[in-house]
Point group: C2
Chain length 199, copies 2
């Protein structure tokens, strides 16, 4: 399956590269590529400059579309040109996975109205304003509803990705992958050690 | 403090970007930059192309020098030009951190002869052949000996980096950082769930 990762200025490093580590090493099953609104180099605040293709190239959808979070989402939620393109890509993709505040971008498309979703705990009160009809789950490591997977903050993207592998390939495959990267996988999507009450 | 990250063809994604996530977000304390033997774009097998400076620019050492692992280390251990440069940089740097098979490159410099070090569990039997005088610790999440920190495989780089923060800034600072990225930090460097006996 093709995994297309959306990048934008000031994406969160681990939101992207946690899942990419997992999908990227499973070469018999997944091929990872990076895309951005205009293509070319995309930078973030952690000193990373990474080469991307133009999202026009995936306008007909992909197998797995991954939307990370980061401070950049605060700007991109108001980028209606990008949100319109994301809506089409998400509609036409087989699976959509978001990490952290990436769920704010997905919520803006309207595609998860009435569906379960979660996000970064620190940014939760902002994220929920981006989709008032979404069934936001405050206490979750990740959620799945239909073809949409959403994870809590940053590191939780790895647990969700391993959960996705379990759904596709079974639990032993997912556990073996976690073991190879020496990752202490939280297997239960409801086990959330970072839950915060509403402010 | 300046954090210089070594990249080479076929570096392991999360070895790099786990620690970079942690250092990168602490902008009041750390600044992350990427370097490679010749500078320019460096690719890996997970589809990532990232822009780097030339390691000549850090020949006088840095505050923190981070050496990741990955399949690329199997080639670079025999790159005597690179190993000679690494030896100088490591000697002149305040701290040297390795992740996964990055400790094989460090071992090749001879600088950790007689010192404690660990590595990826799956590659351990190969890594130890790269430094027969190193005090290899098979059961460890990470090790510290003098200015040298070495971690076990892939994800363990994050636990080590948080352990480094604890040594520099105290335990509350490290825990707060782990909490912000919603990471279930293994605080005990001897707690190793991925230990394997010698083959």
């Amino acid at each position: 399956m093709n995994v297309a990762v959306l990048l934008f200025e000031d994406f969160e490093t681990l939101d992207v590269f946690g899942p990419v580590e997992i999908f990227g090493r499973l070469k018999d099953h997944y091929k990872v590529s990076f895309f951005s609104e205009s293509g070319g180099m995309v930078k973030n605040a952690h000193g990373i400059s990474i080469l991307t293709g133009n999202i026009e190239d995936i306008k007909n959808g992909v197998d797995i579309f991954l939307i990370p979070g980061g401070h950049g989402t605060r700007i991109e939620v108001n980028n209606t040109v990008l949100i319109d393109k994301l809506r089409t890509i998400c509609q036409l993709s087989k699976y959509v996975l978001t990490v952290c505040t990436g769920s704010a971008l997905l919520a803006r498309t309207g595609l998860i109205d009435g569906k379960k979703a979660t996000s970064n705990k620190k940014a939760f009160d902002w994220v929920i304003t981006q989709g008032e009809k979404v069934n936001w789950i405050r206490k979750a490591r990740w959620t799945r509803d239909d073809k949409f997977y959403t994870s809590a903050g940053v590191s939780a993207g790895m647990d969700m990705t391993l959960g996705f592998l379990r759904d596709i390939h079974g639990p032993e495959f997912a556990r073996k992958t976690a073991f190879e990267i020496e990752y202490n996988w939280i297997e239960n999507m409801e086990e959330d050690n970072f839950f915060r009450q509403e402010r």
